[in-house]
């Protein structure tokens, strides 16, 4: 039976949803070995008990938070040498892709990023050119390193690892960059953008007033997103930007309010299962990809939708 390594993804000791998704993809190929490269392993381990994981390997001896991605890639390279896995799966975050790239250089193996599906033969599916083309790719040399985009699969539950081991490492070559300070992200209480099953996004049309967008998001239990025009204007932080130079999302439901739907914005949300657009301009290109379009004023429509959603719930 072959094994598959998955890199446990966590923020502040909280295991992200993508880890369960990686385990689900990994299970299609073989036994899943979850690798922990974090100083929060004590908090992380119990959270893996409901995932479809066969074994955990906790890398110790390195201050991963201080060194960032070079140390994680070095640790994974050692685990690959030890376990000879059929593949290494990593979450497709900015950090995950950096780790994948560095690991690929280290172990001289092919890398595929942003896969949305993976089969038992390790054939990856990618959605490229802003979602307009689907390709199937394979790694032809070394140990396939594949980063999987979040929300691409319904994670299956499992009974957790049957075994856990520690793997002591030394990391002397260092990537030399040190984190001086970290101001933790303000917790909005909303789901993470790339993990959310519903996203309500606001654009230039909000004119800086995101209140109706946020209120609808909260009624739906959704994440808030923004167009580049909105983040550039400073109305919302850059980390909430959806699109070519922001996050790529594919939720069950994407609601775009006051967003024109430029090709670079669509590149980040076009593969959402259901798309709703609210825009004053009947000619806005966002309507070309919308399953339900409302030509209207977002300040009138969004509150009505919010009230309707709240009424449905009670």
């Amino acid at each position: 039976m072959s094994t598959v390594l998955i890199l446990v993804d966590s923020v502040g000791g909280k295991v992200s949803k993508s880890t369960a998704e990686l385990a689900t993809f990994g299970k299609r190929i073989g036994d899943v070995v979850a690798v922990i490269c974090s100083s929060d392993s004590a908090a992380i381990l119990p959270q893996l008990n409901t995932l479809s994981i066969d074994k955990t390997i906790t890398c110790t001896g390195v201050d991963f938070e201080k060194f960032s991605t070079g140390a994680v890639a070095a640790a994974l390279a050692s685990v690959v040498a030890k376990e000879s896995p059929a593949a290494v799966l990593i979450a497709s975050s900015a950090r995950g892709k950096e780790i994948a790239g560095r690991l690929a250089v280290r172990i001289d193996s092919g890398v595929i990023t942003d896969a949305i599906d993976l089969d038992s033969e390790i054939i990856a599916t990618q959605s490229i050119f802003g979602g307009s083309t689907t390709v199937h790719s394979i790694v032809t040399h070394g140990t396939p390193i594949i980063t999987m985009r979040g929300n691409s699969i319904e994670a299956i539950a499992g009974s957790g690892p049957a075994g856990a081991e520690d793997f002591a490492l030394t990391y002397t070559d260092g990537d030399r960059a040190a984190v001086l300070s970290l101001a933790p992200a303000k917790k909005s209480g909303r789901p993470e953008l790339t993990e959310a099953s519903i996203i309500v996004s606001g654009g230039k049309g909000t004119d800086g007033n995101f209140t109706p967008v946020e209120e609808l998001a909260d009624a739906l239990g959704a994440a808030v997103g923004a167009s580049r025009a909105a983040t550039d204007a400073g109305w919302y932080p850059h980390s909430f930007q959806v699109g070519q130079t922001g996050k790529t999302v594919s939720p069950q439901l994407y609601i775009a309010a006051g967003i024109s739907g430029a090709i670079q914005h669509r590149a980040g949300m076009q593969t959402s299962k259901t798309i709703v657009a609210i825009n004053k301009d009947p000619e806005a290109p966002i309507f070309d990809v919308a399953d339900f379009g409302v030509v209207g004023d977002l300040f009138a429509v969004l509150p009505q939708v919010r009230d309707g959603v709240i009424a449905k719930k009670s």
Binding site: S93, R102, A104, T134, A178, T245, Q270, D291
Partner: protein, 268 residues
């Protein structure tokens, strides 16, 4: 500082891209432009030099140099010329028939070799090329060169040989620092790239743009190009366009109709 800025020529991000018969991006059918995101890296290099030069300017007398490097076909020299007209000092085009079909591993190998050969101590990149969108080259360069990796910078400062960046990640707002040599990638929020001035465009015509081949860099053709690409596309198909959906004009009840639509799809 001896700065190298890695830039790529890419299909215009406004263009509709498609795959060619060889399972690679059909580059012939679309306009090629300097990767928008790399303009921010060029601007960062110019701003860093200007802020740390006795003359307040780039070029001779600044004590620093800015070289733009691109691996790509002959016409990528247009992107390099644009960078020169913005103010970079000189340019290197790495162009060799053996490079066709290179993957990210090979691209990073070639760029790393050119950076080593040129003896640069600061490498600036964009965060992503808008065609491949892998966002891995800067990290791969740091790994290959053994340089410090400072990626996704929203702010860059230098004091002596220490670089400090601020960046926003899923963890929060991080301040990171490292001594040179370093690889820095910058996000588009960092600055507003300047437009080339008429004077800049005229001056750029006289600036050196050299072409290097694989043999100039001492790289064997068998280590790069399509035969050494370690991932391959098996097949590709255009995704069926989304069917036009329902479109209504708000008459005061659109919100309620939308809720009914969402309920029907079991989304609320």
């Amino acid at each position: 500082m001896k700065i190298a800025v890695c830039i790529k020529q890419v299909p215009d991000s406004w263009a509709q891209k498609k795959m060619g018969a060889d399972q690679r991006l059909d580059r012939e059918s679309v306009d090629a432009v300097l990767n928008d995101l790399d303009e921010y890296a060029i601007e960062s290099a110019l701003a860093l030099v200007e802020a740390n030069s006795p003359t307040g300017e780039v070029g001779e007398g600044s004590g620093h140099s800015i070289t733009v490097i691109s691996m790509g076909p002959e016409r990528a020299s247009e992107a390099l010329r644009k960078a020169l007209s913005m103010g970079a000092d000189d340019a290197i085009l790495i162009n060799d028939p053996g490079l066709a079909g290179s993957d990210a591993l090979a691209t990073s190998k070639v760029l790393a070799q050119a950076i080593t050969a040129g003896g640069y101590d600061l490498v600036l990149c964009g965060t992503e090329s808008t065609d491949a969108r892998m966002s891995v080259i800067p990290a791969m360069l740091a790994e290959r060169l053994g340089f410090a990796q400072l990626t996704f910078a929203g702010k860059v400062g230098v004091s002596g040989r220490t670089m400090t960046i601020t960046r926003q990640t899923e963890f929060g707002v991080e301040e990171m620092s490292a001594d040179l040599p370093a690889v820095i990638s910058v996000v588009e929020k960092i600055n507003e790239p300047r437009y080339p001035s008429f004077k800049g465009i005229m001056a750029s015509k006289k600036k050196p743009l050299v072409t290097q081949t694989l043999s100039d860099l001492g790289i064997s053709p068998s280590d790069v190009g399509s035969s050494a690409a370690w991932s391959a596309v098996k097949d590709s198909l255009p995704r069926p366009p989304r069917g036009a959906g329902i479109k209504i004009v708000d008459d005061g009840s659109a919100g309620s109709q939308l809720v009914a639509f969402l309920a029907e799809r079991k989304l609320v």
